[in-house]
Symmetry: C2
Subunit: 328 residues, 2 copies
């Protein structure tokens, strides 16, 4: 018999469909082909020598002609710093101009240097770049939330192989995020504790879904995982915004992030995946009731009509089993 | 410059990303390969002669040995009529047994007879079967919502080619649906009108996103479409539940559904797609503030990290343009 689990942070229900369940290692089939040889591709707009193929850099780390990390505006931006954020409506149709920012962090000059194989120090620098860009983008007072995310592979929505992360600074806080904050606020008002921190404490007590733990962070497969091998990285120290991550935490996180991604890479044979840094809206950076965290979603199964039509997810792998598999 | 549009039924924001915009006919690249020859496949569990490969039928239309439509329990059910629906929780972890039903409607004995090529009368019969199963499933008082949906092609989440629709009867009403009802209820309380009916009226007044119209139904690409070529079929007569569709409406809908799917088939060269019948929860079948409707989502683009992390969708094709393209 399957089981319905409720995600305490969204109230979403997830069907843990044990009837269709497969062994964790059987889930590694789905991924796009990857160029694995050669660390340079002359067709790639992100490779050194092709700098003129991207818009001028917002920031360059390392020397200009021997850069290590490059931040550029997205050539096909979803949002741009033009126009304004006034809402206008005609009948029921409400809209606003596509004001905002859309940047790309080119993570390495090497075409095939993926995150889990970078040096720790380089991953630390990447995390520092994310934090720096967060602060640079929020200088614009129209920016209300900053989403840092990574698409790895075609199944995860990118056709560009060269390792990169995107940052979108949005003038609207979507209901998707407001909803999470409302639930967390209600929980805080009722119980006096941060829902996310309590969840982390509960997961550590139960211990069966923990993948790894360091001094400041824990990676785990949540009780009500929406997707097989969905992985959360949660900080132990309360902080609602990623923008406030400390140097000490960055050093610690780089170790845990590298190991967690390496486990996924090895356990699932380099799956396509998305990585998202969930952080509070800019105006809610110092709230006691939210905890920033990283979500990693390997794209192993397709979202189908049932998920699109009900918001109930069918997960074919139990997080207890996938966490145990990765832990090995 | 792109534009942010708000979906009035969910308050979701959609980025209409004209910078990345492509012409409608350029979007037809993505679909899985399809077996198009032969109307019989001896390996297919849904083809005649293989009836023993599915669980025993719940209902058969036509003769038993020459059936036209067959309804069977899903062999790998997400939910089953076992156990109960009591919620139990330990710490923050709330769950319930996977009680419910999961059926498959095998739409035709012919392996390659897809919906837009079926005879009108057969489509009518299919709609009657959906309505009949809706009523049969809601006899179980534990069932709180019934989701009827179709996955066509691998990108849409199915590996079975034989034309089929699935029905899941769920004991929980998910927040995804409650949220839509709350927004519609608030709108009704504020304005005295059904949000969905008003939206339909607005779309008909503006007229630029209508694909087709018959006596009782309209197909259109909504103002704030989440996906390129997302198509809604809305009834003109107010009714919150699909379960209450009349014979007259069924005859009319079969014509519009066939034509709409044929336009998508021809315009996008047989895209993978999901089709969902959105209907009120069983306990809300006679509400003035909700309108049942059909949503069709061709799977032309991938949901990426930004959508997963923010709930803001990037749509690369304007619904005005896609509707005009299909209308031709």
């Amino acid at each position: 018999m399957s089981e319905l689990r409720q995600d305490p942070t969204t109230y979403d229900w997830i069907i843990m469909a044990t009837e269709r369940s497969v062994r964790p290692h059987e889930l590694n089939g789905k991924k796009s082909s990857r160029h694995r040889g050669g660390d340079y591709n002359k067709e790639c707009p992100f490779c050194p020598g092709n700098e003129q193929r991207t818009p001028p850099a917002e920031a360059v780390y390392g020397d200009n002609d021997k850069w290590k990390i490059r931040v550029v505006p997205n050539k096909f931006p979803a949002l741009t710093p033009e126009g304004n954020t006034s809402r206008v409506h005609y009948k029921l149709f409400r809209k606003t101009q596509g004001y905002g920012r859309h940047e790309v962090v080119i993570e390495s000059p090497r075409h095939n240097e993926f995150l889990p194989f970078m040096e720790n120090e380089h991953i630390e620098n990447l995390l520092r770049v994310f934090r720096d860009r967060y602060h640079a983008l929020k200088e614009d007072t129209e920016v209300k939330i900053i989403i840092i995310f990574k698409n790895h592979g075609e199944e995860a929505g990118t056709s560009l192989e060269h390792p990169h992360t995107q940052i979108i600074a949005s003038p609207v806080v979507p209901p998707f995020i407001r909803r999470r904050l409302e639930i967390a606020t209600q929980h805080y008002d009722n119980t006096g504790s941060c829902l996310y921190h309590e969840l982390l404490t509960n997961e550590r007590e139960v211990a069966e879904r923990i993948v790894m733990e360091t001094e400041h962070f824990v990676s785990l497969h949540p009780f009500a995982s929406h997707y097989p091998f969905e992985t959360w990285i949660m900080p132990k120290v309360h902080k609602s915004s990623f923008g406030n991550i400390t140097e000490d935490e960055i050093r610690d996180l780089s170790v845990l992030l590298k190991s967690t991604l390496l486990k996924l890479y090895e356990g699932l044979d380099d799956p396509d995946y998305n990585l998202i840094i969930h952080t509070s809206p800019v105006d809610d950076e110092h709230k006691s009731y939210y905890l920033w965290h990283i979500q990693i979603v390997p794209r192993l199964t397709q979202m189908a009509g049932f998920e699109l039509g009900s918001g109930i997810y069918i997960n074919i792998a139990l997080p207890e089993q996938t966490a145990a598999f990765l832990k090995e």
